[in-house]
Amino acid sequence: MVQAPERSVTAQLTDDTRLDDGGMPQKSLVEAIHDTLLEEMRADDRIVTLGEDVGRRGGVFRVTAGFLEEFGEDRVLDTPLAESGIIGTAIGMALNGLRPVAEIQFLDFIHPAMDQIMNEAARIRYRSNNDFSCPMVIRAPFGGGVHGALYHSQSIEAVFVHTPGLKVVAPATPADAKGLLRAAIRDEDPVLFLEHKKMYRLIKGPVPEGDHDVPLGQARIAQDGTDATIVTYGMMVHEAQKAAAEVAQETGASIEVIDLRSLKPLDEWTIVESVKKTAKALVVTEANGLCSVASEVAALIGEAAFAYLDAPVMRVTAPDVPATPYSPPLEQAFMVDAEKIGAALRRLIAY
């Protein structure tokens, strides 16, 4: 038998990703993002925020409510409906000493700005002899399950993960939203910061006060387990934990759930170590499966942990259809949820 070549993985970042949450204030995801951006803007006058209705209206999801009043029109810029202009000018600001945090109202509307993001922001460092960088954050609500239909539901993160030069994060908890947003703003490269719109008010949790940082590229072990690993991110972390609890009760299996938090850079070490321990992996994404983050994670496991596997790597993803349909039952059929994850998990455990 031919020996498979060793696949190196990223280095371990730190052992413990758990939060000691005693006595911390509870916040919703939207509150955590609001408060963090507010604190960051108070502390650093290089930060400006721009986007459609971020000022007077405070953002359609109220993330920047009160910002215009506090920081004025020079730092909180209501823009016309012009995504390419929003991102392109933000890049220019980043090239000239500012730290823009641009809001794209829904990730679905980012496409007109794709050229600026992929062709310009992502390449500035590479094409400038490392003389220039593009320290900017693009915040965008993503994800489905809110009856948003074709253009208010998309999860197109894979496109950005596929673009070298960009970083992509998707917090699943309010605490991580804080830690990752701080890290994203401090990062010297462009970061896409994805906020699941269904989680904005649904998900509440403890948020540490003060300097709470989460490094980009470090996953979180949402729960420990020994019999199978679920790797996922965003809202699917919560669905996966629901499914894991049900299956654990039914079968007694102990399920590990890894919340990626960063999609690029990817914490390969944590994924691979977990799978070496559990020998079974289920990768879950809310996006459609073809060439998705789930494909990448499955490939990583195949390359770096094949010899440890007791079962084929499985995936649960949205179907390859052009859009999230509007009709609630069709939308439900489209969406990945605890039930679909649970069904796959049972098959994986039984394998």
């Binding site: 459609e52 209705d53 007077r56 209206r57 359609v60 209501d78 016309p80 409906l81 012009a82 995504e83 390419s84 202009g85 679905d108 509307f109 496409h111 007109p112 809110v146 009856h147 948003g148 239909a149 074709l150 253009y151 208010h152 179907p319 259809v321 052009p322 859009a323 349909p325 509007y326 009709s327 609630p328 039952p329 069709l330 059929a333 489209f334």
Partner: protein
Amino acid sequence: MATTQRAGKKQRQTEQDGLTAVAEALGFDEETLRGLYRKMVLIRLFEDAAQRTFRQGKIGGYLHVYSGQEAVATGFLAAFQEGDRAITAYRDHAHALLLGSDPKAVMAELFGRGTGLVKGKGGSMHLFDVANGLWGGYGIVGGHIPLGVGMAYAERYWGSDAVVQLYLGDGAIHNAAYHEAANLAGLWGRDGLNPTLFILENNQYGMGTSVERATAMTDLAAKFDSYAIEHEKVDGMDLVAVLACAQRVTERVRETGKPYAVEALTYRLVAHGAGDFFEKYRTKEEVRTWRERDPIGLFEQKLLAAGVADEQGLGAIRDEAKQIVDEAVRFADESPEPPLEELHTDVYADAE
């Protein structure tokens, strides 16, 4: 040149003379005028019902109604001929109803039912009814503008004299898609190859951002100058003015194959979206002032003054429209959900 300008002026004078003169010039009989009233009332009641059922949870997601802007689409689509095409953004219920979509199928689409215009797959913002000339409502603002210009090119390519009515908002005009498409329309139109009628519905706001806060060049019609597209403005609250303008400019586009733009000054009398309570960007006073020029009220007064209808007659029309809307809601409510297989249909030509 001078004579056509004078003729244009004379025509516009007639438009100001009021209902009777305009109706006569357009060859509209009294029944047609009452029919237009019926259409506007139907739209308003349909939108009221949509907002009501949205609040009851029967419609989900995002819903944007046309209340206050009825005279614009009603006036322009009165000039629509068989073979013409219409394309618009997401505030699209009125356009579908005016083009002849069955109100039941439109409401069912809003409810996401299998009997809806697109089987419940699209919902409020994404109506499509090709048989009636509606080439879509589009949720990505600005995204549809190049599509309209391309369709117009194809009409002339095939030698037809059809016109594409392309509706866009005051917010959409700041998007790159508009500028690229308008330039092409102007360019192709120079050779008579672009019968696009741009209908810019300036309702003063794109969500919470007023025109003045979105652009330093607030004369929006003038933005068409950059692309050598001739343009004018019309009072979008006054159906009679819109009707006259629409007939004249549609014929002009049909004859010349050149694009033309009309900025209809209008107002959204309701919140941006049905789930939207944030109205701080405009004052109650401002809304009240515009409400006094509610397009339905204005037209009602004109019908009464001209003796085309009496109070009783208008009441009967409203009752009739209400019945149609009630029936549409009942139909939508009782309609089945689409079968789950629909998730996977309509993806490619060769696969189901």
